[in-house]
């Protein structure tokens, strides 16, 4: 990390960029995921993370992810986490190849914190989303080999005073989503559920329950999505982002929420047609 005299290398003291990625690309590109070239051929089966849902509510957003990771038809993990704080006022959820996705999250968190430390201010929410789009676009080569990473990003916009969320595609397309959205293998079922359960101006507690309900519905129809595990007491990761910042919902609360969702489904059950 230091040059032959032991002093910090020139790239450390070169002014100009507030971006950790730009600095790393200049200093040592081999440390970046985009700096690696892939050998020809198909990548072997690796761990995949699945469904993420997000929805807006009165005062912010809720983002939730199930805890299952799969490798082919095997369950690779029952307690993987796929929703993370990107910084104080935003959350990122990931679906796709788990190894690459977790690295993307780590780099993205670092990128935002690095900017904040160097500039002394936070990036705007649009700025953060654009930065993430650039990072996703950088891994297009990997996506073409079947190692796609699809993040879902949401946060509280301090300038506008509202919660907003963004989805991305592997080409780096950035799309602002209104009301609610889901990504990953169970997203089709989760979206159907959200469409029926979401209403404008819902309070935070209802938004948390709706997010868990959507994940339960996704787990019902998609084998790669895991529902709440009442035996092992493993609950989805649910994050609430408001003007007060990022907050992860406690396990005790989620146990109650999961029980409520169970109750709602039992109430409408009539011979195998549970919602």
């Amino acid at each position: 990390m230091t040059d032959s005299h032991g002093r910090l290398p020139r790239s450390f003291t070169t002014p100009g960029t507030s971006s950790f990625l730009d600095f790393l690309a200049h200093h040592d590109p081999s440390l970046l995921p985009t700096g690696r070239t892939l050998p020809a051929g198909d990548a072997p089966a690796s761990t995949h993370a699945t469904t993420i849902v997000a929805l807006t509510f009165d005062g912010g957003i809720v983002m939730a992810g199930d805890r299952r990771a799969t490798a082919g038809s095997m369950i690779a993990s029952r307690h993987i986490e796929k929703v993370f704080p990107a910084d104080e006022y935003s959350a990122i959820g990931i679906a796709g190849t788990a190894g690459l996705a977790l690295e993307l999250v780590r780099l993205f968190q670092l990128e935002l914190e690095h900017y904040e430390k160097i500039e002394g201010t936070l990036l705007s929410l649009d700025g953060k989303a654009n930065r993430l789009a650039t990072m996703v676009r950088g891994s297009l080569g990997l996506a073409m080999q079947g190692l796609a990473v699809v993040p879902l990003f949401g946060g509280y916009d301090l300038q506008r005073g509202t919660g907003r969320m963004f989805s991305f595609d592997v080409t780096g397309g950035r799309y602002e989503e209104l009301e609610h959205h889901a990504v990953g293998s169970g997203s089709v079922f989760a979206r159907g559920s959200l469409k029926k359960l979401w209403w404008p101006g819902m309070p935070a507690s209802d938004a948390v329950r709706t997010a868990v309900h959507a994940l339960v519905d996704a787990a019902d129809d998609d084998s790669a999505t895991g529902g709440p595990d009442t035996v092992r007491r493993i609950w989805p990761v649910v994050a609430v982002v408001t003007a007060e910042g990022y907050r992860r919902v406690a396990d005790d609360t989620l146990a109650e929420v999961a029980a409520q969702v169970d109750g709602m489904r039992r109430a409408t059950e009539s011979g195998g047609g549970a919602r």
Binding site: M1, T2, H5, G6, R7, L8, F12, T13, P15, F20, F23, L24, H27, L31, E88, R106, L107, L110, E113, H114, E116, K117, I118, G120, T121, L122, L158, E244, G245
Partner: protein, 259 residues
């Protein structure tokens, strides 16, 4: 062909050291001192945007006196060093000692090989989980490092300020006591009445060991007024001047207040 005059190495180094010392003495002093729940930093700095005290990493902060462009450059290098190290290994593997060494090598190399030494003096401090684990390193323009215990003063009249700190400081001081001592020391003068510094003239920050991850927090003017026991109204004109900096510092101040 003309021969260059011979200058002895002693004379050369002395000239450089004098040059650096003069530049540093022109700047306003920074005081760093440990208190029961962390490490406090204070300096006289009316600007709300050009900081002399900054966050480097989760539990590490940086304070500097001297030429702004030179220490700003070192600060950015420090943030890059810490973030790269944390990314390559793990967040807990970033420590103040490694950073202090990197800074010392940089300052020492510039002092001996380049035409002009860096006119800066730095403090790199890391807050531990208990007071015994706190580390405070003071780095000089020539690359010398001192491992300080309890308190440091640097900049113009560093010696007098250190003397006053030695009289006033004791282990286990609380935050209000530490900040009051730091502000009294900063306001003291070699002769005549001590100056009274208002919150608007001061830059104060702490590394708070009770915070979960990022320990660094700036103490904004209103909170500082409360700590000093001065009414916040005192610095109204300064606040008005500070708004020309734009809304950005307010945002960071708001973030800094959160856990």
């Amino acid at each position: 062909m003309s021969m260059p005059f011979y200058v002895s190495p002693e004379q050369l180094m002395k000239d450089r050291a004098d040059y650096a010392r003069k530049g540093i003495a022109r700047g306003r002093s920074v005081v760093v001192l440990a208190y029961d729940e962390g490490i406090a930093f204070a300096t006289e700095n009316p600007s709300r945007a050009l900081h002399k005290i900054s966050e480097i990493y989760d539990r590490i902060a940086f304070a500097a006196v001297g030429k702004y462009n030179e220490f700003e450059n070192l600060r950015v290098a420090g943030v890059r060093y810490a973030d790269l190290r944390g990314y390559s290994y793990d967040r807990q593997d970033v420590n103040a000692r490694g950073l202090a060494n990197a800074y010392a090598q940089t300052l020492g190399t510039v002092f001996t090989t380049e035409s002009k030494p860096l006119e800066v003096e730095l403090v790199v401090a890391e807050v531990g989980h208990v007071a015994e684990e706190d580390q405070i390193y003071r780095l000089s323009y020539d690359g010398s490092v001192a491992d300080e215990h309890g308190f440091v003063a640097m900049g113009g009249q560093a010696e007098q300020l250190t003397e006053r700190l030695r009289e006033g400081w004791a282990p286990g001081l609380d935050l209000a006591g530490a900040v009051r001592l730091a502000v009294d020391v900063l306001g003291s003068q070699p002769e005549g009445e001590p100056r009274v510094l208002t919150p608007g003239q001061l830059e104060v920050a702490v590394l708070d060991r009770t915070r979960s991850r990022r320990a660094f927090r700036r103490v904004a003017a209103p909170a500082l007024g409360t700590l000093l026991g001065q009414p916040a109204g005192d610095d109204a004109p300064t606040d008005g001047a500070a708004t020309t900096d734009g809304a950005a510092p307010d945002v960071s101040a708001a973030t800094d207040e959160r856990g």
